[in-house]
């Protein structure tokens, strides 16, 4: 039996990941304080339905189920949520932390049956790459949000260039999410990993090398981007609620 503090790592994963899920779910159901000036919370971006003045297709859609409270984030969050849920790194981490399968390396398990990812429901983890494609699309929307966060409207109808702390928060968020998404194992595979003779495909080789480089830090990007995206939402929310003041740097 291991004598070191083997329980510490799964406990940390449980607390941080569990805390994120609780916060993200709470924030998604708020349907308020998700925008402040030119800033839009990443949980609500792109705003497909929502505020009729800013959303692509206006307010609450007619087909929205009556029993479910409406929030623009509920249309958005399932996609990045499922991308993380099916991520190879997170799978290993939450199997340990939430399902004790195993609790940690060389630590006995509480149950004897095991099906792995060979049968339903965990066989569905194999569609990770489809969520990765959607996650890449989201990077463009979030990068566009950073562009919009550079244009402030202090006088109604007049926009001018500026940089606030919020702009930097949203920009750092996109960088962290890009490092996480572009270094994903599925990305590494589809850009070139599936080939045995990469030298015959120089562009794919370069893309594979770049993705592999990011992939070496995949765990760190996973955690930093998770904290980054939650903090971006919190920042916009706190500014919108008047709790925090957004400092204008330029």
């Amino acid at each position: 039996m291991r004598r070191d503090a083997w329980w510490l790592q799964p406990l940390i994963v449980f607390v941080i990941l569990g805390g994120f899920v609780v916060y993200a779910t709470w924030a998604a159901f708020q349907n308020a304080h998700y925008a402040y000036g030119p800033y839009l919370s990443p949980f609500y971006s792109p705003e497909i339905f929502g505020d009729p003045r800013t959303a692509w297709f206006g307010g609450k859609p007619s087909w929205w189920p009556g029993l479910l409270p409406f929030s623009p984030a509920l249309i958005i969050l399932p996609f990045p949520g499922l991308f993380r849920f099916t991520c190879y790194y997170y799978r290993g981490a939450y199997y340990k932390a939430f399902w004790a399968d195993p609790p940690n390396c060389a630590v006995g398990e509480p149950r004897s049956s095991y099906i792995g990812e060979r049968s339903f429901p965990l066989i569905m983890q194999n569609i990770h790459r489809y969520f990765m494609y959607v996650a890449v699309l989201f990077l463009f929307f979030l990068a566009h949000d950073v562009w919009k966060a550079l244009w402030f409207e202090d006088v109604p109808g007049v926009k001018h260039f500026g940089i606030g702390v919020g702009t930097i928060v949203l920009a750092v968020n996109v960088v962290l999410l890009s490092c996480y998404t572009l270094g994903c194992h599925s990305m590494r595979h589809v850009v070139g990993g599936f080939l045995d003779q990469l030298s015959r495909h120089p562009v794919r080789k370069k893309a594979y090398d770049c993705s592999s480089c990011l992939n070496r830090w995949h765990m760190k990007w996973a955690w930093m981007s998770l904290i980054g995206v939650a903090f971006s939402d919190l920042y916009v929310r706190m500014c919108s609620m008047g709790v925090w003041h957004d400092w204008r740097l330029l």
Binding site: R3, G116, K205
Partner: protein, 280 residues
């Protein structure tokens, strides 16, 4: 008649022995406690030994000292004492490790060092397990199947960059620590359905080789049970050769299984590209 002259080798050895004796004299000595699993065919218990140890010793050194002075019948498998033969795999303080590469100074001095045989394989005696299952598994994996030679003299041409990826897998010393720590084998005993991380690395080395033409992907999914791996990365953690088993071997193979069985759009794109290439 000339007197016998010492050879250069003997002279060197004397100097080495003298230097070692001086080093031993100046090294810190201590008495450490060891709990070693003693028994046969899975039955047995820990037996505690007190042993004088010297600074710089590894666990295998201590086991040898115990075998020499206190337990002459202690069964332990070892060979190179350099972390290259993969013979002295055991569980030290509950973690699969090579005894010859685990320094005593890295282990808690206040508590006894526990040394057990690997749990994923049938126990034989004391610290020795029967690892022959691994060699049977290896036979089931499709052999290297190179394409026809590139040159008339029967040789092949390949780029170093293409071989670099599989080079890492060839560092494996077959210590089977990765098999031992894998909970699919260790706790769930799926030896009939799952080949384990060692042989997924072996399959990856063949499957990703630039000259190889065999398709192992259907077997990996069915007979070799790659879907049973739930990516805990424990195999990577214990590998004494620091092979990135999960990220560089298992996950790329899982992705190839996805290509073949779970990605209809990707498959259609590939069929279309192949046809386009063939026609044009």
């Amino acid at each position: 008649m000339s007197s016998p002259m010492p050879t250069a080798g003997a002279k060197g050895q004397d100097a080495f022995t003298a230097a070692q004796a001086a080093q031993d004299a100046s090294a810190k000595h201590a008495t450490r406690s060891f709990k070693i699993w003693r028994g046969e065919a899975g039955k047995g218990d820990f037996v505690e030994y007190k042993q004088d140890v010297v600074e710089g010793m590894v666990v295998l050194d201590a086991v040898h000292e115990i075998a020499a002075t206190q337990a002459n019948d202690l069964a332990v498998r070892w060979n190179c004492k350099a972390g290259k033969c993969g013979s002295c795999s055991a569980e030290i303080n509950g973690m699969p490790k090579l005894m010859c590469m685990t320094r005593l100074s890295d282990l808690d001095a206040d508590k006894p060092v526990t040394i057990e045989p690997m749990r994923a394989f049938p126990h034989m005696r004391d610290l020795v397990t029967d690892v022959s299952w691994n060699f049977e598994v290896k036979k089931k994996i499709q052999k290297f199947t190179p394409r026809p030679p590139d040159a008339p003299d029967g040789t092949w041409r390949m780029q170093q960059t293409d071989v670099d990826r599989v080079q890492e897998f060839r560092k494996c010393i077959e210590c089977f620590l990765c098999q031992d720590v894998c909970h699919v084998l260790r706790d769930h005993h799926k030896h009939e359905e799952f080949i384990g991380p060692r042989f997924l690395v072996y399959a990856a080395a063949l499957e990703m080789h630039p000259l190889d033409t065999a398709d192992r992907v259907p077997e990996l999914r069915k007979e070799h049970g790659i879907g049973l791996c739930n990516i805990t990365k424990c195999c990577t953690k214990v590998c004494p050769e620091h092979i990135t088993i999960t990220d560089n071997a298992i996950i790329p193979l899982k992705e190839r299984v996805v290509d073949e069985f779970f990605d209809p759009i990707g498959k259609l794109v590939k069929i279309y590209s192949r046809r386009k290439k063939a026609n044009g």
